[in-house]
Each structure stands twice: as C-alpha cells, then as structure tokens.
C-alpha cells in the first residue's frame, strides 16, 4: 500500500520541473516554427529571384570568375588567386541556393489550412525533438531523421505529409515517444538545460535569418516586381560593363 502511494505521488520538485519543461517545450516549438517560417520566406525570395534574374546573375558571376582567373594568371599574386577562388565559391553557392529553393517548391495551400498546419508542426516538434532523446542514441537518430522530413514538408507547406508524419508519430509507428512522467529529477534538469540552450540558439538563428536582406524584402512590404526589375537593370548594366 505504501509502495503504491510512493509511485503514484509525484515529488513536488519533479512536478514543478516537468511543468517548466513542458512550458519551455512549447516555446521551443514556437521558435522552431518561427525559424521554419523565416526559412520559407527566404527560399521563396530565391525562387522568385531565380525566375526573374537567375540566368543573368549566374552569367554575371561566371564573367566575374573568368576575369578574376585571368587577373590571377597574369599577376601570380596570392590575393588575386584567392579572389578568383572567392568568385568560384560565390557562383557555386548561388547555384546551390537556387537549386535548393527549386527542390523545395511549395505546394498550394488554402489559407484556412495554415493554422492547422502550424499546430501539427508544433505538436510534432514537441514530441519528436532530438533534444528529448539524448539518453537514447538510436531514438535520437530516429528523431533527427524525422525532424528533417518534417521540416522539409513544412517548408513546402505540404499539409498531407505533415499530417501523415504527425499521425505516424502519435500512433507510435515511427518510434515510441517516452512517457515523460517516468523521468528522474536529474534527467529533467538536464532536459530543461538543453531546452534553454536550444531556445537561445533558436533566438540567435532567427535574428540572423530575419536580418537577411531576402527575408526583409519578403516581409517589409517591398514592391517585389519593382525590386526585381531594378535588379535586372542593374545586373544588365554591370554585365555590359564587364564584357566591354
């Protein structure tokens, strides 16, 4: 009888910690969702960029690279060779960003489905976040793979896939989500610390993403048609100058 009472009654400190963990998990899930939203906006910008000026931009970078290589060959200077490598990296990274953006083409989604998509995403992040499973490496690897699938689907606004993933998770088809009432005080403290760290990391990542000009153009009311027209004109002029 006494034993039964002990297992059923949770220590007040444990209960308090668990409440803190759950609150912080909600916050982290919100931040994950916010970060994914920022990434979506940035990728959306690059998708538009590719459509409007992608070929021109690639051509300009290729010409810059060619000129930088010529110069490096003529002078033999270390700094010029580095500049040529820099242009190569810029060209490669621009191509990569554009290719990534194309690979994550969003699905047309009714505006009314947006809140439900966000809710499902947060629910999945709370249950499957890899930080929750640090004690079990296998489970953590499964959770990481799951999060990648989830983020990919969320950024494409792929509602059916997000719903299926969440359903699989809650049904235990992917992996069993451990019951958090069985955790010890030490484990809960460590978990809380990991969540706090993750919260700070996410806040920093979001600050970085929102500072990106691509994000700013997409969210600060910039007239994108005018913006891309202006960019097209500037790039055309620059290209003509370089080819002279």
């Amino acid at each position: 009888m006494i034993t039964q009472q002990t297992t059923l009654t949770r220590h007040p400190a444990t209960a308090q910690l668990l409440a803190q963990v759950r609150a912080l998990e909600d916050t982290v899930a919100q931040l994950e969702e916010e970060k994914a939203g920022c990434q979506y906006q940035i990728e959306q910008y690059y998708r538009l960029l590719r459509g409007r000026v992608g070929d021109l931009l690639t051509e300009l970078l290729a010409v810059q690279l060619q000129l930088a290589r010529q110069r490096a060959g003529q002078t033999g200077r270390r700094s010029d060779a580095e500049a040529a490598r820099g242009w190569q990296e810029r060209l490669d990274s621009t191509n990569r960003v554009i290719q990534d953006a194309i690979a994550h083409q969003p699905v047309d989604l009714a505006e009314t489905a947006q809140p439900e998509l966000k809710r499902l995403y947060r629910q999945a992040v709370t249950l499957a976040h890899p930080d929750r499973h640090t004690a079990d490496p296998d489970r953590m690897a499964q959770a990481t793979a799951f999060m990648m699938q989830l983020n990919d689907a969320y950024q494409r606004q792929d509602f059916p896939t997000v719903r299926r993933l969440v359903q699989d998770l809650t049904d235990g088809r992917l992996f069993l989500v451990q019951d958090d009432t069985t955790y010890s005080i030490d484990t809960l403290r460590q978990w809380l610390q990991r969540l706090t760290d993750r919260q700070q990391a996410l806040q920093a990542e979001i600050a970085q993403l929102t500072a990106e000009s691509a994000y700013q153009y997409m969210t600060n009311g910039t007239d994108l048609t005018a913006h891309f027209t202006q960019l097209h004109t500037a790039l055309t002029q620059q290209l003509a100058q370089l080819q002279r």
């Binding site: 033999g76 270390r78 700094s79 580095e82 500049a83 820099g86």
Partner: protein, 330 residues
C-alpha cells in the same frame, strides 16, 4: 634573374656558387619540411632588413617612452641580436648555430641597401654568433630595476649596440630584397645540399618602396621565396610599423581579412605563408584563433607587435617550434 649583380659574401667564385645553388634547388623538399635540426654542422640563417628612411623619425611609444620609430626598432633589433647570440652560448663557447645578416636601406642613400655591421665586421654580410661580439658599434650601460628574491634591486646591465637609430633618405626596399636574395642564394650554395633549416628574412619597414613598382617588388620577393633547402622554402616575413593610428592586421589567413587597404594587400602577397609548426606559437603569442593558414605579415603594427613578430621569426623562449629544432647537443 636578380636585378643586381650577386654580392660576394662567400669564398666561392660566382659561377661555382650559382652551379651549387642550381643543384640545391633541384633537390626535392622532404616530406616533413621545417623540421631540420639547427646544429653546428647544419646551421640556419637570419637576415634582418631594416628600413632607415626619413619617415622612421616619426614618434612612437615603446616601453612607456615616446621615441622615434627608428630608435624603437633599433632597440628591438639589438635585443633580438643579443638573444640570438645568447642562445648559442654553451659554457665559454659560442656555437655556430646560425649566420646573421643586418641590412639597412635608405639610411645612407636613396638607392642601395647596405650591410650594417661595423667594427671588425665592416663589409661583411653574414656573421656567426661568435663574431657578433666584435661587430658592435658600442656597448651601452643601462640601469634597470630587477626583482631578485622578492627585492627590487637596481643593477647596471651592458647592452651591446649593433644598430643605430638612423632615418634618412627614401625607401629602396627592392634593393634590400634583391640583396637578401643574392645573399641567401650564396648561403644556400655554401651549405652544399645539407639538410639545413631554411633562412628566415625579416623585413621591418614603415612605408612603400620608392625604388620599384608593386609588381617589381613582388617579383623580387617571389624569387627570394622560391629559394630553398631540402627542408623548405625561405621564409620572408614583412612588418609595417606604424605610429599606432591605424588598425593592426597580424598574420592574416586571407586577403579578405585586409579589407581594401592596398598596401596591406601588397605586404600580404610579398610574405610567406607560415609553415604549420609556427601556427601554435602565432595563435598563442598574438591571441589569434587557430586557423589553417597564417601569412607572415603585420600591417600597422605597434612596437609591442614588432617584439612578438621577432619572437615568431627567431628562436626565443616564446617560440616553441624553433626551440624544438635548435640543437640540444651537449
């Protein structure tokens, strides 16, 4: 081809040392360069190129005193030379672990770099550590406070002076680099293909060359850096000392670290990439992040940076990589 006629500093006729140098340059660099032991049988060489142009009279601060850049540089170089000599002292013997050249440019004229050794060594280019004692301009006596067993004691110390504070004329830096090229070439030839630690050239300047365009200067530096022993290429380190108003750039990893400063970019291209064994000392002495490459240059450096720079380029207590290579023979 060098822009000036080879300087006779060795006993070998010019055609012989040129042939010997060609042989040295045909020997491939070994798999683990900059690892040769510095011993009496296989010494290394240090060449100090000192800008003595008119602008070196500008004021700077060193050890809390305001003095000319020329005076501060002279103090630091004299101290380095003394330390180099002391590192070779084993009992009463001063061992021949390296040859040392001290070259000035601008102090005597607008065109030509010259050897600065005086006394019995006038006209010589390389001195052994033992010969340094006979090549001083004078020996100063300075009163300093030392902490001995917890008590402050005033003592008089002797400070040999090889380099005077001189600041005249313009900046014939190309002449100094070409002279270094010629001297290093001859020095390598006399080593007869031995596995010797490559010579180190440290150029201390406060301005741009007045005897060459940037491209001409770079061509000289490239020729100098192409010289090598089987232990690796000659190291050319350049430091631009300033009046402490600009941003210091120390051992950069990439030209992008230098911003748009064209002079800093020139120094960057002139200087050697520092070999891996130096990296830990550079990071530790200058408080830099561990990187995969460091170029041996400092731009807008103050005098404290110059002291550290000299510590990286020469075997001092602070330089663990050099100290490890220096012979521990009894």
């Amino acid at each position: 081809m060098p822009d000036q006629a080879p300087v006779r500093s060795s006993a070998l006729p010019v055609s012989d040392w040129q042939q010997a140098l060609d042989t040295v340059l045909q020997t491939p660099v070994k798999a683990r360069p900059y690892s040769a032991q510095i011993m009496r049988q296989s010494p290394t060489a240090f060449l100090f190129l000192i800008d003595q142009s008119g602008s070196m009279d500008e004021r700077t601060t060193y050890r809390g005193r305001v003095l000319s850049k020329a005076a501060a540089v002279a103090q630091i170089v004299n101290q380095t030379l003394l330390e180099l000599a002391l590192r070779c002292q084993k009992g009463d013997e001063v061992r021949h672990y390296y040859d040392i050249a001290l070259i000035g440019y601008g102090g005597l004229n607008d065109e030509q770099a010259v050897s600065l050794w005086s006394g019995a060594a006038v006209g010589k280019f390389f001195l052994t550590p033992a010969e340094l004692a006979g090549a001083t301009l004078r020996v100063d006596e300075v009163t300093v406070e030392r902490n001995i067993r917890g008590r402050a004691v005033t003592v008089t110390e002797k400070r040999p002076v090889w380099l005077n504070a001189v600041h005249n004329y313009r900046t014939p830096m190309k002449s100094a680099i070409c002279l270094a090229e010629s001297l290093v070439g001859q020095w390598l030839a006399t080593q007869q293909g031995n596995d010797v630690y490559p010579p180190t050239v440290i150029n201390i300047t406060d301005g741009v060359a007045t005897d060459a365009t940037a491209d001409e200067l770079l061509a000289c530096c490239d020729r100098l850096k192409a010289l090598r022993s089987m232990d690796g290429n000659v190291l050319l380190m350049n430091i631009h000392v300033s009046d402490e108003r600009g941003n210091s750039i120390l051992f950069p990893a990439r030209a992008d670290d230098l911003g748009t400063d064209q002079y800093a970019r020139l120094l960057y291209d002139m200087s050697s990439e520092m070999p891996t064994p130096y990296h830990a000392d550079i990071a530790s002495l200058f408080g830099l992040d561990q990187r995969t490459s460091y170029v041996g240059m400092c731009s807008n450096a103050d005098m404290d940076a110059l002291v550290k720079f000299m510590n990286i380029g020469t075997p001092t207590q602070h330089n663990h990589s050099f100290t490890a290579n220096l012979s521990s023979e009894p």
